[in-house]
C-alpha cells in the first residue's frame, strides 16, 4: 500500500491528462458532430451520402484502430510532406482520434434530434421574420440540445473510457502512469485497480453534471413529463 502513496502524485498527473484529453475531445467532437449532422441533413444528395458513408465507416471501425492510424498515420504524413518540421504530439493525435469517433456518433444523435423538431416551429419562426441564423440559434439548436442530451451523456461515458486507449500510443494518461508504476513496483494488480477506481469515480462524478444540464435544458417541459 505504501507504494500507492509513493506514486499517488504520478497517478494524479495522469488523471489530469485524462481529464484534459476527454474534455478537449468532447468540445471538438461536439462541434464536429454538429457540422457532420448538418452535412447528413443537407439537401445536396452527394454531400449527404458522402457524410453518411464517412460516419458509418467511422462507427464500424474499432476505436483502438482509429487511435493507432491517427497517431502513426499523422506522424508519417507530416514526416513525408513537411520534412518533419512539425512534431505531432500524442495529445493532439489522441484528441483528433477520439473526437472524430465522438463526432461520428454525435452526428447521428444530432441528426435525430434536429429531425424531431416539429416543422411548424421553423415555419412559425420564418413567419415572425427570423433569419435562418436566428432560427437556428433561437429555435432549432436549444431544442435539439434538449433532445440530444441523454444520448450525449452516454457518448461522454464511452469517450471517457476510450481515453484509456491513447496510453498505448505513449501519451502519459492515467492508465499509462499506472502501468509505469506497476512495472516499477511489480504490483500491477494494485495500480490497475487504482486506475479502475479513478475512472469509476470520474464517470460517476460526471453524472450529476449531465443530470443538471438535462434539467436546465428541459425547463418548461417538466409539466409535460409529470
Amino acid at each position: 500500500m505504501d507504494d500507492l502513496w509513493l506514486y499517488a502524485g504520478q497517478l494524479l498527473e495522469g488523471a489530469w491528462v485524462t481529464v484534459q484529453l476527454a474534455l478537449s475531445s468532447l468540445l471538438v467532437g461536439l462541434a464536429l458532430g454538429l457540422v457532420l449532422a448538418a452535412g447528413s441533413l443537407s439537401g445536396r444528395a452527394l454531400l449527404r451520402r458522402a457524410v453518411r458513408l464517412c460516419t458509418g465507416l467511422l462507427r464500424g471501425i474499432p476505436e483502438f484502430l482509429i487511435v493507432l492510424v491517427c497517431y502513426f498515420g499523422l506522424s508519417n504524413l507530416i514526416n513525408n510532406h513537411f520534412d518533419g518540421a512539425v512534431e505531432i504530439s500524442p495529445f493532439a493525435a489522441g484528441v483528433f482520434a477520439l473526437s472524430i469517433v465522438f463526432a461520428a456518433y454525435a452526428s447521428e444523435v444530432f441528426r435525430g434530434s434536429f429531425a424531431a423538431i416539429p416543422r411548424g416551429q421553423i415555419e412559425a419562426a420564418q413567419a415572425f421574420g427570423l433569419t435562418s441564423t436566428q432560427t437556428f440559434f433561437a429555435v432549432r439548436l436549444p431544442q435539439a440540445w434538449r433532445i440530444a442530451l441523454p444520448s450525449l451523456g452516454n457518448l461522454w461515458q464511452s469517450l471517457l473510457k476510450d481515453t484509456s486507449l491513447v496510453s498505448v500510443v505513449g501519451l502519459e494518461d492515467l492508465l499509462k502512469k499506472s502501468n509505469m508504476a506497476a512495472q516499477a513496483t511489480h504490483q500491477p494488480f494494485l495500480f490497475f485497480l487504482a486506475a479502475a477506481a479513478v475512472y469509476f469515480v470520474f464517470l460517476h462524478a460526471s453524472q450529476p453534471v449531465f443530470a443538471w444540464l438535462e434539467r436546465r435544458a428541459g425547463r418548461g417541459f417538466e409539466a409535460r413529463a409529470a
Binding site: 492510424v69 502513426f72 492508465l175 504490483q187 494488480f189
Partner: protein, 233 residues
C-alpha cells in the same frame, strides 16, 4: 489455404495474408465466444437484478456498475497482468486459463459484455407488463414456467435491438486484446504495420472490420425481424 498468389499479386510480404487470415479467425472466435459466454452469464445476472431479493439484486447491480464503469482496457490489464502478481493465483488450477492471452482476453471480453447485456435484459424483463405475469400465475403456471414461457420470451423480444447493438460494439472491443499480445486482426495489422513503417496494414484491417460490422448489422436486422414485435414484421 494458399495465399501466395494473392500476396505476389498485391506485392505484399510473404505470409502476410495468411497471418491476417489467422488473425481474422481469432477475432471472430473472440466475438462469437464472448457473445455466447456473456449471454449465458447475463441471463442469471438480469434475473438476480429483477428478483426483488435484496442481496442477489445488490450483487448483480454492483457487478454491472463495476464492469460498465471502468474501461475494458483496464479490466484486461487487471486480469492478464494484475492477478499474476499473486503467488496463490499462479499455483491455482485456473492458472492455465489466465496464463494464455487468448483465454484471458476471451474471459475479460465476456465478463465485460455480460454486464452490458444484463442491463439490456433487465430493462427487457422490467418492460414486460405485470398483467402478463399475473395472468400466467393465475392460470396455474409455476414461477419457473411463467418465466420460461411468458416473461423471458417477451423480454427477449424487447431487448433484441439493444442486444444487437452490444454485439456490434463487441466486435470493436475485441481489437483491444492485441494489447495483451493476442494476434487477432488488429494484432497482426499492428505487427505488419510496424514491419513496413506504414499504416497501410492498419487501414486495411479497418476496412475488414467495417465489412464485418456490416455483415453483423444485417444479421442482427434479420434476427430482429424474426423475433421482433409483431407489428414490425
Amino acid at each position: 489455404m494458399n495465399f501466395a498468389p494473392i500476396e505476389a499479386w498485391l506485392e505484399l510480404p510473404a505470409d502476410s495474408v495468411l497471418e491476417a487470415w489467422e488473425g481474422l479467425v481469432i477475432t471472430l472466435q473472440l466475438l462469437c465466444g464472448s457473445v455466447l459466454l456473456a449471454f449465458a452469464l447475463a441471463l442469471p445476472l438480469a434475473l438476480a437484478a429483477t428478483s426483488g431479493k435484496a442481496w442477489p439484486a445488490r450483487l448483480a447491480r454492483g457487478y454491472n456498475a463495476a464492469f460498465r464503469g471502468t474501461p475494458l482496457l483496464v479490466q484486461l490489464f487487471i486480469l492478464y497482468y494484475g492477478v499474476s502478481q499473486f503467488e496463490a493465483v499462479r499455483h491455482s488450477p485456473a492458472w492455465w486459463l489466465l496464463e494464455d492471452a487468448f483465454y484471458c482476453g476471451l474471459l475479460a471480453l465476456s465478463l465485460n459484455l455480460a454486464a452490458y447485456m444484463a442491463e439490456d435484459l433487465r430493462a427487457g424483463i422490467l418492460a414486460v407488463p405485470l398483467g402478463e405475469k399475473e395472468a400466467a400465475l393465475a392460470m396455474g403456471m409455476s414461477p419457473f414456467q411463467c418465466y420460461r414461457w411468458i416473461v423471458l420470451p417477451a423480454a427477449w423480444r424487447i431487448a433484441t435491438p439493444a442486444l444487437g447493438n452490444e454485439v456490434i460494439a463487441q466486435l470493436k472491443a475485441t481489437a483491444l486484446v492485441s494489447t495483451i499480445t493476442v494476434l487477432d486482426l488488429t494484432g497482426v495489422a499492428r505487427r505488419l504495420s510496424n514491419a513496413s513503417y506504414t499504416t497501410d496494414a492498419l487501414v486495411m484491417a479497418g476496412v475488414v472490420y467495417a465489412a464485418i460490422t456490416l455483415v453483423v448489422v444485417l444479421a442482427v436486422r434479420r434476427i430482429e425481424r424474426r423475433f421482433g414485435p409483431a407489428g414490425r414484421r
